[in-house]
């Protein structure tokens, strides 16, 4: 069923056609496509809806990206490329206002919804109102943060005005997380009525290369070529039908694609690297990975989590409750140097990880912290000795000002994380640090239950480990997480994102400067400065630059996997070689 021979063409011809499409030329229509071909994509955790605004998960936005599109999307290098927009607005082309408070998008002319009606600026305005109407619980509301108003200047132009200068204006309507919905379809689904719209959420009318034939939540999505897709005259998309199939686990999905050839693509293969390598070597498929900003890192509690403190446990309390030894950069640096990141990658991540010493690992990546790439237990020991943190009572554990370096190190339950914990515990023992390991089920750890002492927001431990990432390329919002006003505590129901309770007036000032700066070069310099400040404070210790790992069949061509956006962002140009 999957390997049916069909009309084919070379990727060169495809690239040629794409060039024509980009130039707006009119190539001869009816170019060959994959007549009758179906591609099967395995999403072992299947999409639960096709409306990304109704779900925070990435599997939903990936599946939806075949049907509904944003104004612009990120390619595999994290560069913006136009989707429904005619071009990317910049200061140079006048799309961005000089005071950085407004961005004007021009829509690609002549785009039709799959029901035949034209896409207009009103649909874009509607999408903003849809996500920001209270009571709907829009999961992507942060994309519209700081938006004062969105207005249609004419049928093909839309202007987004922010409540202040917004040097990074690509939150709204950019990437598969913020696609344009059709006003005619979703008009009745505003606010609290959103939940009554399961038919709309499951079968959105879109402008993308495919339209929904059948949607079974958490199971299967069947899609067919959208006859009104704007690339249709250029022979896009190649595949007539796409089936997204869920169920089972990552290892079974990898086996289906790499070894059995039963399916063409498998997403999110969190499988032991050794097993994945063996499967790849025995079959015709390939493992692919892509990186954006995800970093697995250690967070060092800057406040005292001592149980005896009661209410004050892990509370910032305006800096009056510092941690007895983790606020000392000498300790953090030693802990960091003791870790062999390369070993962690080999054991747990394989192609899905690289050692890193930066919390912002993508361009503009800092080169100033590369010391940590090499494990150096000798240097770590020397640093602690020089700082006067030595073992005074002969129990093998160093003391700082009489307080022994005993650490409770927590993370979520996950085999890779527990292996990492064990390895790190061993290395830290070599520098005289005693570690107690703890793991918490991820639904609790990343949850918000105020009654639970085990959430990462409460952080009743000394060190915790998890992965954090930016939304798209938004370094500004991401690095803002370490501002003093983001510190979680009882006062804000532990909702802040600065779980390490890091507080630095210098970071706050640098970040405020970043929020005002429009010049790209200056912004890059500020991002590097913020990264270096954070990393060199040793309130965070970056470990692994984490990528997404997927696999595709040996006969599938044209995959340009992007971790910045939906992995399926360019599915219209995927082909099957004969």
């Amino acid at each position: 069923m999957l390997n049916r021979p069909g009309a084919t063409r070379t990727t060169t011809a495809l690239a040629f056609l794409l060039t024509l499409a980009a130039c707006g030329g009119a190539p001869p229509g009816g170019a060959g496509s994959g007549a009758g071909q179906t591609a099967t994509l395995l999403y072992w955790q299947a999409p639960t809806t096709l409306n990304p605004y109704m779900s925070g998960g990435e599997k939903e936005s990936h599946a939806a990206s075949l049907v509904i599109e944003p104004l612009a999307e990120y390619d595999e290098n994290g560069e913006l490329v136009p989707a429904l927009a005619a071009g990317i607005p910049t200061l140079g082309n006048g799309g961005l206002s000089a005071d950085l408070t407004a961005i004007t998008w021009t829509l690609e002319p002549g785009v039709l919804w799959s029901d035949g009606t034209p896409l207009t600026a009103d649909d874009v305005v509607f999408t903003w109102r849809y996500c920001t109407t209270p009571g709907g619980g829009c999961a992507q509301a942060s994309h519209f943060e700081g938006v004062e108003t969105v207005e249609a200047l004419d049928a093909g132009t839309v202007r987004v005005t922010f409540d202040g200068p917004k040097p990074f204006p690509f939150g709204p309507f950019v990437s598969s997380l913020s696609p344009i919905l059709q006003q005619a379809q979703f008009g009745e689904c505003m606010g609290a009525d959103a939940v009554q719209c399961s038919d709309e959420n499951f079968r959105p009318v879109g402008t993308g290369p495919y339209r929904v034939v059948a949607f079974r939540t958490n199971d299967t999505v069947e899609l067919e070529r959208n006859p009104r897709y704007r690339g249709i005259d250029h022979g896009l998309p190649f595949f007539d039908e796409i089936v997204i199939k869920g169920g089972g686990d990552a290892a079974a999905a990898a086996r289906s694609v790499l070894q059995l050839g039963e399916a063409d693509y498998a997403w999110n293969l969190q499988v032991e690297p050794e097993i994945l390598e063996r499967m790849e070597s025995r079959g015709s498929g390939h493992v692919v990975s892509a990186f954006s900003t995800s970093v697995e890192h250690l967070v060092l509690n800057q406040t005292n989590p001592d149980r005896a403190l009661g209410e004050l446990r892990s509370e910032y309390a305006n800096g009056t409750n510092p941690h007895p030894f983790l606020t000392d950069p000498a300790v953090g640096r030693a802990l960091s140097l003791a870790i062999d990141r390369e070993a962690l990658v080999t054991v747990g991540y394989g192609e899905g990880g690289r050692p890193t010493c930066n919390i912002w690992p993508a361009a503009p990546a800092s080169r100033n912290n590369d010391e940590c790439l090499e494990q150096d237990i000798g240097l770590a020991n020397r640093l602690l000795d020089e700082a006067g943190i030595v073992d005074t009572d002969g129990d093998g554990i160093r003391e700082r000002a009489g307080v022994p370096l005993r650490i409770v190190y927590q993370t979520s339950t996950n085999t890779v994380r527990q292996t990492t914990q064990e390895l790190i515990k061993g290395w830290w023992a070599e520098i005289g640090v005693a570690t107690e390991l703890k793991n918490v089920d991820s639904s609790v750890f990343f949850g918000s239950d105020l009654a639970s002492p085990d959430t990462y927001g409460k952080f009743y431990a000394d060190i915790q480990m998890y992965t954090n990432m930016a939304a798209g390329r938004n370094a500004e919002a991401y690095l803002g997480q370490w501002r003093t006003d983001e510190i979680p505590g009882a006062a804000n129901s532990f909702l802040g994102q600065n779980t390490g309770r890091f507080h630095s007036g210098e970071l706050d000032a640098l970040h405020s400067e970043l929020q005002r700066t429009g010049d790209p070069e200056q912004r890059d310099a500020l991002i590097v400065a913020l990264n270096d400040l954070l990393v060199q404070s040793y309130s965070v210790i970056p470990l692994i630059y984490r990528g997404s790992v997927s696999a595709h069949g040996g006969d599938i061509q044209g995959i340009r996997m992007s971790a910045w956006d939906s992995e399926l962002w360019n599915i219209e140009t995927w082909t099957r070689s004969p």
């Binding site: 109704m54 779900s55 169920g247």
Partner: protein, 335 residues
């Protein structure tokens, strides 16, 4: 008989109410958060609004009362509306899944066919293997058939389905390539070729589950038959000149049937719950898989409704077993 049925049905209502309350309380006490699987790039305030829209922040009694009303009033009305295309007019809210934000019952209706196909067939196949095997094993005790049957049922009973399932996939999918390793829930049987495909995709899960189901049942049948074959009335029947077939099937099997029927009836809810693992291994997106993913996603309305349906099945199966006793043994009276 009718009065007995009515009385038992009415008596089941408080039981089910109590069960539903206990399930709800346990789920409420269990930690979890429907937004915990979101990437951390979604800020806490947005998560809070999301939880608020789901009704996650309502108090326990409010949520329980709402669920109870939806389960007993709104969902039956919605079912009637859907079956007859009518519209009862009043505005109602159906039980909404927190993961898909769509009616839970629609998902269950979507999942039921594949669960019934695979589990139902394996259940019937299990009975069809187990009962004759048990009868023959008892009749020819310590024969080769009995020895082999004992061995097979020991293997079937003691080796878990997640192991036999994986072995089957490796042998028949990976090495031999006979069967697909995942189940296509959208497949429709329209002609002979598609029927053959349906058989192929069902073959492995059905075989694995049937082996497991048959194992216990064949042992029960065997021991129950052995007990009865030693009874005086069997000798009497033979003395009367009843042929061996009649002795075995009409006398011994019928009298051995009560424990067998009990076991079969009580296995009915078990096949739904017990198949959770098998569904996961063979990637059959049925009710069991729906339950597992709902638990992982802290989708409490889905978990609550599914577990409640399993509870209803347990109560109903008990009732069914009681009714069957009367049909099998005229000495049992329902008053």
């Amino acid at each position: 008989m009718a009065r007995y049925l009515l009385r038992r049905t009415l008596a089941a209502i408080p039981t089910l109410l109590a069960i539903s309350f206990v399930i709800f309380a346990i789920l409420d006490l269990a930690p979890g958060d429907p937004t915990s699987s979101f990437p951390l790039s979604i800020p806490p305030e947005v998560r809070e609004q999301y939880r608020e829209a789901l009704g996650f922040n309502d108090t326990f009694l409010v949520r329980y009362g709402k669920w109870l009303r939806q389960m007993t009033v709104d969902e039956p009305i919605a079912l009637i509306e859907q079956s007859f295309g009518a519209d009862a007019g009043s505005s109602r809210t159906r039980i909404q899944s927190w993961a898909s934000r769509s009616p839970v019952m629609d998902t269950i209706a979507e999942r039921l066919p594949q669960t019934l196909w695979v589990l139902g067939v394996s259940f019937l196949l299990g009975i069809a293997i187990a009962v004759p095997l048990g009868v023959v094993s008892a009749y020819r005790q310590y024969s080769l058939v009995d020895q082999l049957g004992t061995l097979a049922s020991m293997v079937g009973y003691s080796v878990p389905t997640f192991f036999t399932g994986l072995v089957a996939i490796i042998v028949f999918s990976v090495w031999l390539g006979w069967f697909p390793s995942f189940y296509d829930t959208t497949h429709e049987v329209t002609d002979f070729a598609s029927f053959v495909f349906q058989l192929r995709q069902m073959a492995m899960p059905v075989a694995v589950l049937a082996l497991f189901n048959a194992a216990a049942l064949s042992r029960f049948t065997r021991s129950s038959m052995l007990e009865n074959l030693g009874e005086d009335y069997i000798r009497t029947a033979r003395a009367k000149g009843v042929d061996e077939r009649g002795v075995l099937l009409r006398h011994a099997l019928r009298n051995s049937a009560i424990p067998i029927v009990t076991l079969i009836a009580l296995q009915i809810p078990g096949i739904f719950a017990g198949a959770i693992i098998t569904e996961q291994i063979f990637r059959i997106n049925g009710l069991g898989q729906a339950l597992i993913s709902a638990i992982n996603a802290s989708d409490i309305p889905m978990v609550q409704t599914l577990t409640f349906i399993f509870a209803v099945l347990v109560v109903a199966s008990n009732l069914l077993a009681d009714v069957l006793y009367g049909l099998l043994d005229p000495r049992i009276r329902y008053e």
